[in-house]
């Protein structure tokens, strides 16, 4: 593998599996968007931040909501402000360009340097949302109708898209992406990950925590199984409070950091 290709190998604060490293590097080399899926809390969003810092690029984040329209990502034409100005007149209303505000996708294309664009939780938006982005992500250029100006990317941004698998994404969109499913980390990988966040944790404590954690994940019928981020928070809470797991008989201390709903708590109580 050439060095030019093998760019991303994780960072000091983010442990990436080999599969994930290769997926990032393939997306980088082929200049295609990287689509990430996986259980909540497995570090999909954090990956983009770490790829940006590892490759020395700026990160532009676009957090998608249920009301987000594809066009909002390119630019917003602030009609209301222009209307307001025309009525109370303190700006040049004829200069439409000053009422055009570039959205996250627009900014990443207009940027002089190559940036990482994170489109977070793309599945939150309407079903047609990904389709509306196809041309822009393919050609990496767009047209501002109001001013007749075309914006073409000088450097194609590295696009990282996350999805919680809530909705089927359209095929045409999927075909253009590199796909990676973030598996739940194995015990070995999890050990590494926790070490990154708690470098001074003792071997024995870590083992106990992980054993309990993976046991908890295996409890049948649990609705929201605890994830990596919750494990790290939990260990943080344990250490802050100075709780020794070996000495606590019965219940799990700070269970609220691991389980987030009442039914799960009840199920655990019954076991």
């Amino acid at each position: 593998m050439s060095d030019a290709f093998n760019q991303f190998t994780g960072t000091t604060t983010y442990i990436a599996s080999e599969d994930l490293q290769q997926a990032v590097n393939v997306a980088c080399a082929l200049e295609k968007p990287l689509l990430l899926r996986g259980e909540p809390g497995t570090g999909k969003t954090v990956l983009a931040q770490n790829v940006a810092s590892a490759l020395g690029m700026d990160l532009i984040a676009w957090h998608v909501k249920s009301t987000t329209k594809a066009r909002d990502g390119l630019y917003v034409y602030d009609t209301v402000a222009r209307l307001h100005d025309s009525r109370f007149g303190d700006a040049d209303v004829n200069d439409i360009a000053s009422y055009i505000k570039l959205g996250p996708l627009g900014r990443s294309l207009a940027s002089e340097k190559r940036v990482v664009l994170l489109i977070d939780e793309i599945d939150k938006a309407d079903i047609e949302f990904p389709n509306d982005l196809l041309t822009e992500l393919d050609a990496m250029k767009f047209f501002i109708d109001e001013t007749g100006k075309e914006i073409v990317a000088k450097e194609r941004p590295l696009v990282i898209i996350t999805s919680n698998n809530e909705k089927e994404l359209p095929d045409a969109f999927l075909r253009r992406c590199i796909f990676h499913y973030i598996d739940f980390p194995s015990v070995e990988l999890m050990t590494k990950i926790v070490r990154v966040h708690h470098p001074d944790i003792e071997e024995q404590v870590l083992d106990q925590c992980l054993e309990l954690f993976f046991k908890l994940r295996d409890v049948p019928r649990i609705r929201k199984r605890p994830s990596t981020s919750e494990l790290i928070d939990w260990i943080f809470a344990l250490r802050k409070a100075g709780v020794d797991l070996a000495r606590v008989g019965g219940g799990i201390p700070f269970l609220g950091t691991l389980l987030k709903n009442e039914q799960d708590m009840a199920i655990l109580g019954n076991n």
């Binding site: 593998m1 050439s2 290709f5 080999e18 599969d19 290769q22 997926a23 590097n25 393939v26 080399a29 082929l30 295609k32 689509l35 899926r37 009609t79 209301v80 209307l83 025309s86 009525r87 079903i127 698998n165 809530e166 909705k167 089927e168 994404l169 095929d171 999927l174 075909r175 253009r176 992406c177 590199i178 796909f179 990676h180 499913y181 598996d183």
Partner: protein
Amino acid sequence: MEQALVLIEFLFELRKQGINVSAHEWMGLMEAMSKGLHNSSLDGFYRLARCICVKDVSNFDAFDQAFLAYFKDVYVDVAAVTNDLLSWLRDPKKFEGLSEEEKKLLEELNVEELKKMFEERLKEQKERHDGGGKWIGTGGKSPFGHGGFHPSGVRVGGPGGGKSAMQVAEMRRYRDYRKDRVLDVRQIDVALRGLRRLGREGAVEELDIEETVNATCKNAGDLDLVFTPPKRNRMKLILLMDVGGSMDAYSLMVERLFTAASRAGRFASFEHYYFHNCVYENVFEDAAFRKPVSVTELIARTSRDERLVVVGDALMHPGELMSPGGSIYFYHHNASAGATWLRRLEDHYRYTAWLNPEPKRYWPRTTIEAIASIFPMYHLSLEGLEEAIRYLVRGGQRPDPSQATPFS
């Protein structure tokens, strides 16, 4: 280019497994390989091909299978496998799970003899290549192979040590993600989201910016605000559920479907009724069959644009379906046959679907087949549910009842 020609069969193997890899993606893979992104290794190729060609974790398992089938001849590390086997045999701890009888059987086998047998059989397999990806025997009473003799299922296969692509593929870790296997409330929830027809109806609440600009311009620049009603789902759904008897086995699944469908605000209207085995004059508001609702009345009251979904195994005695008076209840005499009532329902509503939890291979030559010729019938799995919803929303081709596939 030669590389591309060799691999093209892998493309067709993938498509055979139901992964619709497009030419676009395949060219992407070829481009990536010409750039050396696969690191000139099988492991690298496994990852590269998967992240470019497969876009859904429910297809990962199919990918693993295609990979195994295509690369089965590539490489078997005989020595490593043999060592694995021997160290396994030497470890007394591994035998804890065996019964006395099994232990005795095992003692009868001489290790050297076993080793010889194993190597011979391995060689034989290498030469013959009859079933792909099966290594040495699966199951049965052979001392080798996965999940066979040894109850805790120690696997023999693939080179020892670190995980190679073949091993990863063979582990088939993504089996549980297959769409035809799993269904939980959340998945049904997601699928049901597709069941919608958006329209603007009801109170005016949202600011319509375009219209506001228009109106303001017409008003010579004085702000004139225009509001519209927000978009709402106008889909109306009627759910008929078969309960009791042979449906008891599927009660959990039906309950999940009901939980997801009845979630507040999902549909413009949602009604549900129960029946037992087959629909006759009445359906019931409660699962105890105490509050009857006449089917004729239901048909008269509801519009044909409402969607009717029936959940049931459609399995019954042919008489219950075909003959008048065939009802399963002794004191109940139905003047029209069950099939007639079903046809009346199906005729009234423009779009209907029957979700059947029975595996498709049991459909042919039963009452299921007969009912599938009346109702568009879908298997109650995530895949079937999605198909049914597509049909309910957009119409189009009804499933062909004679096309019930022997698998799934």
